[in-house]
């Protein structure tokens, strides 16, 4: 038995089968059960170590060979597998509570399995092709029949597709460089292609215009899922490049490039968010800023930067899940997320309104919330490296904070309606638990560290 069969092929096939099932409740139940089992197996089953059950002895091998190429999942990848499948469980629960049309469950399994295969494939330039296939698979999840043109979706498709040729080409050039690292012209060309590929893949400014458009068009849960999984896997894919090629890792230009692009995303995202009047678009700009924070953390050299990068993952998914669920709850009863329509909605949806505001503030890095410890550490390290960078960081954060205060003012604005909770009990419970976690992780940040401490071991150079 190979690890790839368990964590790539089985969820892929099951995702496909779930797509065909017409029973909503069955799909939800099976989707959650499959994800829980996959997370548990990733936690409990050892890879490359014989496991004795009675007279039986099972060994899960790390490598699987298909047409001469390898899919490799080692024991060091297991924390990531647990994180991804456990996150999937929460996405599925959130989506079912929100009353989504349960497309997320089969799509989620297909997308996660394809993206894990993108990280596991050797030689890893094939990952670009697998990511492109995942983009195509995610279209049905994002397309809504009442929005015929889907400008955001089309841009998403175009920009992600444009990433593929650049990365494939850079992969070809990189094989030449491995043979002779002194070839500076080739190095420059590979760096340009690779840089362009990742600019498209990670939706780095100015190629991030699809994000606000997509959040306007798609269901909040679906959009949030895509905006979480693609940048996360894209960044990990980038880290594999850094880990493999020492000339990229040790380049003097890399921290400057990462810092500049990260700050650009934080500043533009924050300022743009400050002028938005739509809760969905604000959410999109907050996500743009999150990619900026990740890039910024990678610009910090040494293990500190990697620790910060992985430290951002849990507060982000927590805030994102809550924000998406709260938006879905509100939008299931109102036609638009515009401020004019959202006025006073806190009286009818107090749990959702609280979740939106606290998630927003957590992503801003407000004290006592999950995002604070890591944002504070990031800002502090940035201040040591570049004072101007720290000032720009503050400007972007202030933009998002102002926007959060405006959202709060809108959601609690006086209205003629009486205070009446319209959320269902499961929604109230899930949102309350999420809010509690957001506060607990803010007060006890060591919990996050204990969860992410093994993540950097995936890399042989970066995390050591």
């Amino acid at each position: 038995m190979s690890a790839s069969i368990i964590w790539i092929f089985i969820p892929f096939v099951l995702g496909f089968i779930l797509w065909l099932l017409p029973y909503k409740r069955l799909v939800i139940g099976l989707g959650i059960a499959i994800s829980v089992i996959l997370a548990l197996t990733a936690w409990m089953l050892p890879i490359e170590t014989p496991l004795n059950i009675g007279n039986w002895s099972i060994k899960i091998s790390s490598t699987m060979t298909i047409l001469g190429r390898h899919l490799i999942l080692t024991p060091t990848d297991q924390p990531l597998l647990i994180f991804l499948y456990l996150s999937l469980v929460f996405w599925f629960i959130s989506s079912s509570i929100a009353g989504d049309n349960n497309k997320l469950i089969p799509s989620g399994l297909l997308i996660i399995s394809l993206l894990i295969s993108a990280l596991a494939v050797e030689p890893f330039l094939y990952a670009a092709l697998l990511i492109e296939i995942t983009v195509l698979v995610s279209v049905p999840l994002l397309k809504r029949s009442n929005i015929p043109r889907g400008r955001g979706l089309m841009r998403f498709l175009v920009f992600q597709t444009l990433a593929m040729p650049f990365i494939l080409f850079s992969g070809w050039i990189l094989t030449g460089i491995t043979a002779g690292p002194e070839e500076t012209t080739l190095i420059r060309q590979a760096a340009i292609f690779l840089g362009l590929g990742f600019v498209f893949l990670l939706a780095i400014f100015p190629f991030n215009t699809w994000i606000p458009l997509l959040t306007e068009e798609a269901h909040p849960s679906s959009a949030a899922f895509i905006l979480w999984i693609f940048p996360t896997i894209g960044l990990l894919f980038g880290l594999y490049f850094l880990d493999t090629y020492s000339w990229i890792r040790e380049s003097n230009y890399l921290p400057i490039f990462l810092r500049s692009s990260g700050l650009l995303m934080i500043v533009t995202g924050g300022i743009w968010a400050g002028f938005q009047k739509d809760l969905k678009r604000i959410f999109a700009y907050a996500m743009i800023m999150e990619t900026g924070y990740s890039l910024l953390s990678l610009s910090i050299q040494g293990t500190r930067g990697i620790d910060l990068f992985f430290g951002l993952l849990i507060p982000r998914i927590l805030a994102l899940l809550l924000w998406a669920l709260a938006l879905s709850v509100i939008l299931s009863k109102t036609s638009s997320a515009q401020f004019s329509m959202a006025k006073g909605l806190g009286r009818k949806y107090p749990f959702s309104a609280t979740a939106i505001i606290l998630s927003h503030l957590s992503m801003t890095g407000v004290p006592l919330l999950a995002g604070f410890p890591i944002h504070q550490a990031l800002w502090e390290r940035l201040g040591i490296i570049s004072l101007s960078g720290a000032i720009w960081f503050a400007i972007g954060t202030i933009g998002l904070l102002m926007c959060g205060i405006r959202s709060l003012a809108v959601l609690v604005a006086p209205s003629n309606e009486r205070f009446m909770i319209k959320e269902s009990w499961p929604q109230r419970i899930f949102l309350s638990l999420g809010i509690l976690m957001l506060i607990l992780f803010g007060i006890l940040p060591q919990w996050i560290t204990s969860l992410t401490i093994r993540f950097p071991l995936m890399f042989s150079h970066l995390g050591r």
Binding site: L67, Y126, L136, K143, M154, L157, T161, L168, W172
Partner: protein
């Protein structure tokens, strides 16, 4: 050399035709012709049995598109972006043609490709694909533009990489893009079939 000339003419006519056509039948016809040109160049590098996969998959893409179209002459949505005139499209195509021609020899030298015509065909298709992406908002036309862009990339990539698995995955992406295009046009029907 003569064959290269024939295939570049096929690609050139397909590109110009695709830029000017409004009727979906013509557009898909030109897309099919374009795949013939791509096959022509790829078969000079790859074994025939592998190269023919590009042609067959391209034709499947065209057929899938054709069967999904409603009985109208134009693609489902009217164009809203400016400009739309045929003269503008012709001039823009000419610009792409000249630009790609002028950089093809340099690109060939850089990549170590002996066939300059093949490089030009590749750059031309990528340029036309990008141009189409820039001037249209119709989902179907955008998908065709992406297919054109990928076709161009496939020619140049065939010179540097001959892996059957890469070829298979690129075919999968081509077919996937066509399915996405069909899905986008028929979401209403596909999602509410009951």
């Amino acid at each position: 050399m003569i064959l290269d000339f024939v295939f570049i003419m096929v690609i050139l006519s397909a590109s110009i035709g695709q830029m000017l056509s409004r009727d979906w039948r013509w557009s898909l016809g030109f897309l099919g012709t374009q795949y013939l040109g791509v096959f022509g160049f790829v078969q000079t590098i790859w074994p025939m049995n592998l190269a023919i996969v590009k042609l067959i998959s391209g034709l499947i893409v065209c057929l899938a598109f054709a069967t999904s179209q409603k009985n109208t002459t134009a693609f489902s949505f009217s164009e809203t972006s400016w400009p739309q005139g045929r003269l503008f499209r012709l001039l823009a195509t000419a610009l792409i043609l000249l630009t790609t021609l002028s950089i093809s020899s340099q690109t060939s030298a850089w990549l170590g490709i002996s066939n300059r015509v093949g490089t030009w065909a590749s750059l031309l298709l990528m340029g036309i694909g990008l141009l189409q992406l820039g001037i249209t908002t119709q989902p179907m036309r955008m998908i065709i533009a992406l297919l054109t862009l990928i076709s161009g990339f496939e020619i140049i990539y065939a010179y540097v990489e001959s892996s059957a698995l890469v070829a298979a995955m690129l075919v999968l992406i081509n077919l996937g893009l066509s399915l996405v295009g069909i899905y986008m046009l028929n979401t209403d029907y596909l999602e509410n079939v009951d």
